[in-house]
Symmetry: C2
Subunit: 142 residues, 2 copies
């Protein structure tokens, strides 16, 4: 039986985060000691590991919820899980493309900084000037 702190350490999660996952229904309500402290078993360890791994891969909590649901029902078609992963891959590739363009622009900015006064600072100038901008009015995904 694991305390919440041990579970946290084993999965690289903060204690509060585990309680938060419980609150939003991503983790089940665990057993408690007489004094009211949470105690976890291996099933919970596995589940939390799954969640954390998926989070590291950039899956949203909603997507993880779906994936957990799928893995809880082994008879279901694999196609759904595959679709989620594909959607995720697509997003990652979009972000990559965007970030690569950003890197180029940032490199240019940094490269051209002459070290003088802000009045002739390229960094500020580039930000003021949209003409060389990648795209209009697009957002970057953090």
């Amino acid at each position: 039986m694991l305390t919440i702190g041990t579970l946290a350490k084993k999965t690289g999660t903060k204690v509060q985060t585990i309680r938060y996952y419980e609150q939003i229904g991503l983790m089940p309500e665990p057993g408690r000691t007489e004094g009211g402290q949470r105690r976890y078993g291996d099933a919970e360890l596995d589940r939390l590991s799954f969640v954390r791994h998926a989070r590291q891969l950039g899956f949203s909590l909603d997507a993880i919820r779906e994936l957990l649901d799928l893995s809880d029902h082994p008879g279901k078609s694999c196609a759904e899980a595959d679709a989620i992963a594909r959607r995720q891959l697509k997003q990652v590739e979009q972000r990559l493309a965007r970030l690569e363009a950003l890197r180029t622009e940032l490199k240019r900015m940094v490269h051209e900084c002459s070290g003088g006064q802000t009045s002739d600072c390229r960094v500020l100038e580039v930000l003021r000037d949209h003409s060389e901008c990648l795209t209009d009015h697009e957002e970057i995904g953090a």
Copy 2:
């Protein structure tokens, strides 16, 4: 004189976002009509363009605040602006590295999906198994 809606369209910003920027002090309080509606001039258009461009490049609102402050004081050293841009570039490069690793793993997941039932779905299996994980307990930036 521009209405807030026109300014929004010109900069690709939502009206609410402009009001939000005003609220947090990133945009100045504009003039108003007798009826109390906001009216903007070219200075505000420039400032908002600057902000949006910087946001597209992934700068935080705090960083943008610093940059705006620098550009408001043309006598200051360019070094600070350069430092902010360099910090940003570093972050972008870290995210890139991380995302590239993610793409590899996701591609592997998707590739190996055989199309059967979830009980033998590689996507779920990979998420259950941390052994091939990139790094332990690291976070991804959104």
